[in-house]
């Protein structure tokens, strides 16, 4: 499962990180102001394509996307 988290972390850093940001598994992404709720779209799309899943909009809440750890949990729910 760490592989999953690392894939997500790598994507999040490339997509949203700046040079100075130290993003970890537990960094608050949306509540911490790193990711705005609009930018979640590309992340959701990336996960759906990569893991061949469909995340319903109701589950794609800002809370569920608020850290790499939480995103990994969400993906796990749909790949299980």
């Amino acid at each position: 499962m760490d592989d999953l988290k690392d894939v997500i972390l790598e994507y999040v850093i490339a997509e949203y990180g700046d040079e100075d940001d130290k993003i970890t598994y537990d960094t608050p992404l949306i509540s911490g102001g790193l990711v705005d709720s609009f930018s979640m779209v590309s992340l959701k799309r990336f996960l759906e394509v990569k893991y061949k899943i469909a995340i319903p909009d109701a589950d794609a809440s800002p809370e569920a996307f608020d850290s790499v750890h939480k995103i990994a949990e969400l993906v796990r729910r749909f790949t299980a």
Partner: protein, 415 residues
């Protein structure tokens, strides 16, 4: 009457939270017309204090221009006070259409529709044009009103890193399966003062079959050689598909805004944009004032040239004094302090020194990006700028942030 103690407590708790977070906004009462020199009562009940204003959007100094004030008086006499109607019922006077034609000619577009504000234009434009089969790709620093407009629209939305053309290109590639792609930008970014690279954006739009949207609220009237805006500056007049802008800043500063662009797009807004369909026509008195503002702009470029000179002088003065400022060439000059409390303290001390400039911090700007946003005006004369610079230097010395790098300021005050 169901406003129970429970409800009162709920809101008092929320307001308390806003205060504790240092985010509580208080209005300052100005006891004079808008201008470079204003008289301010702050806090409420305090003695009225004359200060130099360096935080208005009064870029061309037209907010209290005598010719515009007179034109507004004349408009009031000739066309009355209010319309008591939306445009499409019985709210359209000849001067509403006249202003739409003047704006179309000025911006170099095909047609224009007026809105009560640019906030309303941005709220209405996306939902009028796009469906769930489309994608809106916006720069991450676009104005809050655009964000709200996108929220009201059923199209999918995504963002690209601020000003990052490579990232935008990737997004355009990623969404080639969509019916329509719209690239969404501010012309001049209001918090940073930098401008969109519209020439590069147009090339990408052509390569990937996308529409270009730009909000010119902080550009119309003064950016570009004749003040047409960012598209003039970037050499892409006629290439913008959708421009929104305001009359509430450089163009007289009262209120009102518009969508200007391709003929069919404007017509779709006239048929579908809810803030146009369900709110009153702009008041005739304001239309008359805005028409005069455009007439003044047509006469020559003196005001925007003076503004440009002022911006250059101000940026040079702050830089030489040792402040960290955001690079750019617009009249929006952010003085970077990084720490929210420091920005508030500096703003308060500047006011004590007779300079009105406001601190901005998260969530209005990114965390650790607190600043004093200064804005120049053609109303400023050298003596205003020199006095304001003296005040900035005095306060900067007090907080020991002159000649310091970002790292040094952050090391001392934190983020």
């Amino acid at each position: 009457m169901v406003y129970s103690d429970r409800v009162r407590d709920l809101y008092q708790g929320q307001l308390g939270g806003i205060r504790e977070a240092g985010l509580f906004k208080q209005e300052r009462f100005i006891r004079s017309p808008q201008g470079a020199d204003i008289n301010v009562e702050f806090p409420s009940g305090a003695e009225v204090k004359p200060v130099i204003n360096v935080c208005a959007n009064n870029y061309l100094g037209l907010s209290n221009h005598p010719e515009i004030v007179q034109a507004a008086h004349d408009g009031l006499a000739k066309r009355g006070y209010g319309m008591s109607s939306v445009r499409f019922i019985c709210g359209t006077q000849d001067i509403h259409r006249e202003l739409e034609e003047v704006v179309t000619e000025f911006l170099g577009t095909e047609d224009t529709i007026l809105f009560p504000s640019c906030m309303d234009a941005n709220a209405g434009v996306f939902e009028s044009l796009l469906t769930k089969d489309d994608i809106m790709i916006s720069d991450r620093l676009v104005h809050a009103s655009i964000v709200d407009g996108m929220r009201l629209c059923s199209a999918e939305h995504d963002t690209f890193k601020h000003g990052d053309m490579g990232h935008l290109e990737k997004k355009l590639q990623q969404f080639q399966d969509k019916r329509l792609r719209v690239i969404i930008n501010d012309g001049v970014y209001s918090m940073d003062g930098d401008t969109a690279k519209l020439d590069e954006i147009v090339k990408l739009a052509e390569a990937y079959d996308a529409l270009v949207f730009v909000d010119e609220s902080h550009a119309s009237g003064f950016i570009g050689a004749t003040g047409r805006g960012t598209h003039e500056k970037c050499g892409v007049m006629g290439k913008m598909d959708i421009i929104t802008t305001t009359f509430g800043k450089a163009l007289g500063g009262a209120s009102g805004g518009c969508v200007s662009g391709r003929r069919e797009i404007v017509e779709m807004c006239r048929q579908r944009a809810r803030p146009y369909l369900f709110s009153n026509a702009m008041a005739p008195v304001i239309i008359a004032g805005v028409l005069k503002a455009f007439e003044i702009l047509k006469r020559g470029t003196e005001l925007r040239d003076k503004l440009e000179d002022n911006a250059r002088y101000w940026r040079k003065g702050l830089t030489e004094a040792g402040f960290v400022i955001k690079k750019g060439d617009s009249p929006i000059v952010p003085v970077m302090l990084f720490n929210a409390k420091l920005a508030q303290d500096v703003s308060r001390d500047l006011y004590a020194e007779g300079v009105y400039a406001i601190g901005f911090f998260f969530p209005v700007v990114g965390k650790g990006q607190a600043r004093i946003r200064t804005q120049l005006s053609a109303m400023h004369d050298r003596h205003h700028l020199d006095r304001a610079l003296d005040a900035f230097i005095k306060v900067g010395k007090k907080y020991e942030c002159l000649g310091k790098t970002e790292e040094e300021i952050v090391a001392r005050y934190g983020l």
